[in-house]
């Protein structure tokens, strides 16, 4: 181990050690607040370390690197897990989820995300992705008292295992013809612009199917609504913001290394188109807010894939920007839902009526997040969609861009219905909003970020443009 190795691996070490300490501490003292506190400190520590230290590109003995992109996303994932931990405190008490395994699992999941972000070879990439997904198998079913939560967890496990198998098989096939696991070599060798051989083609097909599951792209989207509806909302925030961000990052680590992506265009085009259409149209018909957000998430990932296809017009930075933006939107939306549900709000749209006045903080944050998801300025959702459509038109994907923008217009309707329920009805009961200071802080911060990043995207964008072609 050289100092460079340690410097790169330190965030991973912090997360892993933090998780173990949380577990041991919990076993010894059963002081849950303290356990969560340790986990939050570990997550923040890892994040701050990676944002504060300069990028290191080569780790001599590990299949890891810590380039700018990895550093940025490490910070993003760890801060998000800290935020999720804060939001989970109140929610877990409310749902009767106890034990130190919860914060420890969050940290292990973050560990997987960070490993994925720093991977330089396909094996580490796969291990990181699976470590993360494994964490989510537990988290989705952690509300053991609730049957729906168990069912959702089982569904996610089966689907996830299937997709992992696809992904592993795809990677094996790619290894089979290139003889290497290093990302850049595999990409250079298999995607050259001419049609790859049958084995490489099959390998890529399996990888794409696996990724479609993780990103919940149509036609591999069916697990999404159930999980979004049944899992505890902070877990959904983490899943929606973190795991999809990680899956997008995985594609952003792979695809830019290729010489030419022409042979992947058709399947990606189809998935983007179907996801935008199916996601947005199905969301119109939902009467439960979380289910609606699940379909919305399918549609949002369609926009992200649109950006990936438009790589010639600057789509990669746009996709990375949107992944981060979507992460913050998910955190804000499901964070607000966490607070609302704990305050006795049910899951259907009707039960959200008038909450804007009885639960002002959570409702305001939810409204900002919904406007961002709908792509209304001055939020980051608008700026992100603007970048995506600009790159799509520049890359010549005018048909898909037009369909995308028309479906975005449709999507405004269902987002607005929730805002209308929140603010355009009189509150049914006069209740005091039960929200802790830390929760207010996390929610407020994410809402402010949604607007600030929308108005001043320059720095983040310049950074992403520097690290992505």
């Amino acid at each position: 181990m050289t100092p460079a190795d340690i410097s790169i691996a330190l965030p991973l070490l912090i997360l892993a050690i933090g998780a173990i300490v949380t577990l041991v501490h919990g076993a010894l003292t059963r002081n849950q607040a303290m356990g969560t506190g340790i986990a939050i400190v570990a997550a923040l520590g890892a994040g701050l370390w990676s944002l504060q230290t300069p990028a290191v590109l080569v780790a001599p003995n590990l299949g890891l690197s810590a380039g700018g992109l990895a550093r940025l996303f490490t910070g993003f994932f760890t801060f998000m897990s800290a935020a999720v931990l804060i939001l989970s405190r109140g929610d877990n008490t409310y749902r009767g989820i106890s034990g130190e395994e919860y914060p420890a699992t969050i940290l292990f999941t973050a560990f997987g995300m960070v490993a994925l972000a720093s991977a330089t070879n396909l094996l580490i990439l796969f291990l990181g992705l699976e470590a993360m997904t494994f964490g989510f198998y537990l988290l989705a079913a952690i509300d053991r008292e609730q049957e729906v939560s168990n069912e959702a967890g089982l569904k996610y496990l089966l689907m996830g295992a299937l997709s992992a198998a696809f992904l592993a098989f795809g990677i094996a096939l790619l290894y089979c013809i290139t003889g290497t696991l290093a990302i850049n070599d595999v990409m250079q060798a298999t995607l050259t612009g001419t049609l790859p051989g049958p084995v490489a083609l099959a390998g890529w097909a399996f990888v794409l199917i696996g990724m479609a599951f993780k990103l919940s792209l149509v036609p591999a989207h069916l697990w999404t609504p159930d999980i979004y509806e049944a899992a505890p909302p902070p877990v959904v925030a983490f899943l929606s913001g973190g795991s999809k961000g990680a899956a997008a990052l995985l594609l952003l680590l792979l695809l830019p290394q290729a010489q030419d992506l022409a042979s992947l265009r058709l399947p990606l085009f189809g998935m983007a188109l179907l996801s935008m259409l199916v996601g947005n149209l199905a969301a119109l018909r939902q009467s439960r807010v979380r289910r609606m957000l699940a379909y919305s998430s399918i549609a949002q990932m369609g926009y992200l894939v649109l950006a990936l296809i438009s790589y010639r017009g600057g789509g990669f930075p746009a996709a990375a920007f949107y992944a981060i933006a979507y992460g913050i939107m998910s955190l804000a939306a499901f964070g607000a839902i966490t607070v609302l549900e704990r305050n006795g709000c049910g899951t259907t749209l009707d039960e959200y009526r008038g909450r804007g006045f009885s639960h002002p903080v959570a409702a305001a944050v939810l409204a900002v997040a919904l406007f961002a998801l709908a792509g209304i300025p001055p939020t980051v959702g608008f700026t992100g969609k603007f970048l995506i459509f600009a790159s799509a038109i520049r890359a010549g994907e005018i048909t898909l861009a037009t369909i995308g923008i028309l479906t975005a217009a449709v999507s405004v309707y269902y987002y607005l219905r929730v805002v209308a329920a929140l603010y355009l009805h009189e509150p049914e009961e006069k209740g005091q909003e039960n929200i802790s200071i830390l929760e207010t802080l996390v929610l407020g911060l994410s809402a402010v970020l949604l607007i600030l990043l929308g108005l001043f995207p320059s720095q983040l964008l310049a950074f992403l443009q520097m690290h992505l072609p």
């Binding site: 006045f357 406007f371 209304i376 300025p377 001055p378 608008f382 603007f386 459509f389 600009a390 038109i393 520049r394 861009a401 037009t402 923008i405 028309l406 975005a408 217009a409 405004v412 309707y413 607005l416 219905r417 805002v419 209308a420 603010y423 355009l424 009805h425 001043f456 995207p457 320059s458 964008l461 310049a462 443009q465």
Partner: protein, 495 residues
Amino acid sequence: MTTFPVLTILIVLPLVSGICLIPLRKRQTSAKNLALALTVVELAIACWTWTLAGSPPPPGAPQGFFLFEDFSWIDGLGIRFTLGMDGISLLLVIMTALLTIIAMLASWQTVTERTVLHYILLLVMESSILGVFLSLDLFLFYLFWEVMLIPMFFLIGIWGHGRKIYSAIKFFVFTLAGSLLMLLAIIGLYLIHGRESGVYTFNFSALIGTHLDPTVGIWLYAAFLLSFAIKFPLVPFHTWLPDAHTDAPTAGSIDLAGLLLKTGAYGLIRFGYPLFPDAAKTLTPLLFIMAVAGILYTAWIAFAQKDMKRLVAYSSVGHMGFVALGIAAWTPVALSGSILQMVSHGITTSALFAMVGMLQSRTNTREISAYGGLWGKVPILSCFFMLFAMASAGLPGLNNFVGEFLILTGSYKVAQTATILAFLGLILSLVYTVRLLQEVLFQEERQPLALDDLGFREICTLTILALGVFYIGLHPGPLLDLLSQPVNILMGGAP
């Protein structure tokens, strides 16, 4: 002087005022007073910029703009925070500041629930509309263009009547759908210009010179036109408006008719024609048809309305048809008339909506058939009502006459049939206005109505508007002087 960012202050001040109101949630009266005081300050600043009109353009400003501000914003994409003010913007900015005050006064006593939020939304509305009128960067323009929907959505939805939620959502989705296509067109224009010149920018004056393939030009312009036609609103894209007006609170109607509709016309004048001169010329017949159809159709529909507010809403669409006619003709006289008509329409329609609101708050009904014999019972109210209704119908000496006269004169040479048909529309509008006056003011009382005459605050509100009516009607010279230079520049002539 040039270093003092007065335009930025104009846009930011209402927003900051809105934020200042948040801590006063529990103290309604002080919040209302503060909001009003700050909007008066805003109006004062807007009027002060008038004194600068005619001064030479500051460095970097396009021709005709006497105030210009340009700050770095999103450099990577060629987006800058560019604001500019010429005679056209100046008139609309002053009108916006004035009508916001009127809207606040109109809500003074009628809005009793969530009052502070109401005033905050009015301020946000003012801010975003001023942004639309002052932006010279297409990205910035689009940003304000969409932001202004949010406060309006809440104004209609929270304080509205009847099917307010349906109307609020319809308003938002309808207008947004058109805007999104314009966003694609803006991006398209940006990319074409970037490829052509190597400079990727959203700067309006840089984009003007873009050389466009005729077919591409028509598609891009059509997207702009659609978006503007929905805001305008031109028949057949007007269907959201009567619903929105009917269900909006009075202040919402004032903002909607007085300000929001103007952004469509302004966008067409400022961006549509200059950016796509050839395509605009090709599609001029379409604009003529939509304008005349709007004038005639809405006059016909207005005649059949039973609800006073719906009647005013349709008449408002009709007047905007005149504005569209003047723009379509694109002669200096007609265009000046259109811009003046935008201001006049803002004043008279807002006044009528305010008065309908006053009647409604007294009797709880807007049905024309419920009224009658007001002339004898509430003389002051009736006088004002008659004044504004006649102004709206285009009585000479009052404000709308000037604009409509200029539009018709200026258009006649270019499009005779359209002008003649529009003139018929003018007569029709007189018919429904006289009917309204007759039924509400002069007919015998149909059912006993207990109503008080105007209070001091209401008289003040209406007097301000009445002064505007007479000023534009009798002495439009200074305003037309203000418009002559920018209009000449738009026509491609020397300043």
